[in-house]
Amino acid sequence: MSRISAFLLRRRGGERWHWTDVFTWFWLIAGFLVMFGPAAWLVNSSFKTPAALAEFPPTILPYVTELVTVEGYDQPLPLYRVTLEDGTERVLAEVRRIGIVAQMVDPADPAEVIRVNINQRTPQRTVSFATENYVQPLVANDFLRFLWNSVFVTVMATIITLLTNSMAAFALSKYNFRGRSTVMMLVIATLMVPLSVIIVPLYSVISAMGLFNSLWGVILPTVATPTGVFMLRQYMLTIPDELIDAARMDKASEWQIYWRIVLPLTAPALAVLAIFSVVWRWNDFLWPLIVLSRRELYTLQVGLNTYAGELNVQWHFILAMTVVTMIPVVLVFIFLQRFITTGIAGTGLK
């Protein structure tokens, strides 16, 4: 504990606060708020009721007005803290409101009706998590199905991406053939073509192949990534050719050289590409929206879109499902990040 505080309170130079210390703390705290604030707001707000979401000023925690069942009334009544005319404060349940006057009863003594100016009462509120924001989309609105579709698309696309891109990178880094650099330049050049430019021809191709309204139609056009090929190739160039010669002397086939020598040594770069690929495919919206028109095939991102109607946006569902959407990406980051460092440590060649 003392070491933590010593670390936190350490200052530049001597005893006094240097302006850089102050600036560093300001910078770190501001950065933390900017980075983490929206995520924290998202998670908290995903537990708010639609009414609490519409509230101004917004609160950080999800509050609801407490309800109480009072004898003689069918519905549970909202509780208010009321300042009476004689100055005493009491907690009363509101029966109904007429104009600026609220008719209230004491839950302990429901017979007497007290009239109170509405300015004299404030709602009695407690923190409450509106879990139905999660339950309803997941159970009733097919979001589990969307989740499964997203997982399928992401996992499949990532596996195929890693496989095909590493093969291309292997050929482009470890074989000498005529036109190798031309091919590499062509691959890099495709980086300059944005999706929106090729979206129509791509649609025709997918449609002609009968992949329209199929998850494979979402997966296959995305698996060949110039970024991935480039990144893996650059990494593979650093693997010494002598290792491959040694494997050749060891009777390894070309496939074995790729699978047993080059691929394990490329693990750190593969981990990075895997993270990228998972994030890309998970967050894909436009292409799945185009290819998938049947509701049971929707991915999460397309599914989220169904809550944003033309007239009515169901923010509570959108926020809750956004949280669900975020979880896997965060998990991937946490786990693969650790893998990257061990990967680099494990392949330290000489």
């Binding site: 010669d245 390894a252 047993r260 020598i261 693990a267 494990g346 060649l349």
Partner: protein
């Protein structure tokens, strides 16, 4: 064990020819060393024999069978690389087993071979470790072990000691020699270090600029180098070269005028054809003589007293550097002029074309 024959092997990378018509016959069980300065094509030659590269022209045969177009894996050779090229993600055991697994050898035999090689090379305690956790010398052994377990017809070693420190290099060199003795396998060893070549080789192949300059046993090369390059390359410190003039030929004897060396006569008719020759003298063959006894005068530049011997750096009257290694300890200091003599039998003669002139010298 195998006999490897190269005939007219040439290799070009694009327009650059790195090997020119190399002919070589490597006998069974022989340890042959390719030696030469960097860029002479010795590693390329080794890669051609290994099958990692294809010769542009010429044929390579092992035991009389043409293997020029046979893949590296099917030539039955094993190679030890300069950087060892151990697979960093595999343990030592997996490194040793990789080649055997690829050959679909039964598990039991793989284990047996690994155990044997580990015992032979003293690497048994490291079998579960990764190459990154081993020292340079240990990695070296593993690399050799990987070659041994394959039970190859010949070993190809590409500068295997160059990454070791000086002390380890000497002990590993001795181990390699012992290993060759024990396995009595054909070994082809590439190095740029002539000491390694001298100590290890049955025969040395001296290469320069893609051509074989001379092939022979270490002492053959040392005693009768066929040209100036081999004479300068083999032997440490390198041979001194002094210009000399050919005098008149009388009764089959040709006189050589070497400044201050007194009269020299050689029995070599061919020498007369050259107006000028180069005289080669090994530093160890020079003797210090006192003034007035003749000898080659030289000015001392630097004296390195090593105790058992004294290395004297000098320059001769016409400015050529001359090095002498004198046995024992001598009182010589920089700036002095000293005189060197030598036995005429130790003299090497080279013509203007750089080739050796066979000569019987008489004082």
């Amino acid at each position: 064990m195998s006999r490897i024959t190269l005939s007219k092997v040439a290799k070009a990378f694009g327009a650059v020819k790195v090997l020119h018509d190399v002919d070589l016959d490597i006998a069974e069980g022989e340890l042959i060393v390719f030696v030469g300065p960097s860029g002479c094509g010795k590693s390329t030659l080794l890669r051609l024999i290994a099958g990692l590269d294809q010769p542009t022209t010429g044929t390579i045969s092992i035991d009389g069978k043409d293997v020029t177009r046979v893949a590296a894996a099917d030539r039955g050779l094993a190679m030890v690389f300069q950087s060892y090229a151990l697979y960093p993600h595999m343990t030592v055991r997996q490194n040793l087993a990789f080649g055997l697994e690829n050959a679909r050898m039964p598990r039991a035999e793989i284990d047996q071979r690994i155990t044997e090689a580990a015992r032979m090379l003293d690497i048994a305690p490291y079998l579960a470790r990764r190459p990154g956790q081993l020292s340079g010398g240990q990695r070296q052994r593993v690399a050799i072990g990987r070659a041994i377990v394959r039970n190859p017809t010949a070993f190809l070693l590409d500068e295997p000691l160059s990454n070791l420190d000086a002390e380890l290099r000497i002990s590993t060199r001795a181990e390699l020699a012992a290993l060759h003795e024990r396995l009595s396998a054909t070994m082809i060893y590439v190095t740029h270090d002539q000491t390694e070549a001298m100590t290890l080789a049955d025969r040395i192949v001296v290469l320069r600029a893609g051509r074989i300059e001379q092939v022979g046993s270490p002492l053959e090369l040392y005693n009768t180098p066929t040209n100036l390059f081999v004479a300068g390359f083999i032997g440490a410190p390198r041979m001194n070269f002094l210009p000399a003039k050919i005098g008149e030929t009388r009764a089959g004897k040709t006189a050589i005028r070497l400044e201050g060396a007194g009269p020299l006569e050689v029995q070599a008719a061919s020498a007369a054809a050259h107006g000028e020759v180069t005289v080669g003298l090994r530093p160890h063959h020079l003797r210090l003589v006192s003034d007035g006894e003749g000898g080659i005068p030289a000015q001392v530049k630097l004296v390195e007293a090593l105790g058992s011997e004294t290395v004297v750096h000098t320059t001769t009257a016409n400015g050529d550097g001359m090095l002498a290694v004198l046995g024992g300890q001598h009182k010589v200091s920089a700036g002095e002029t000293v005189h060197f003599r030598f036995d005429a039998a130790d003299l090497h003669l080279f013509g203007v074309d750089g080739l050796r002139i066979e000569a019987v010298t008489t004082p």
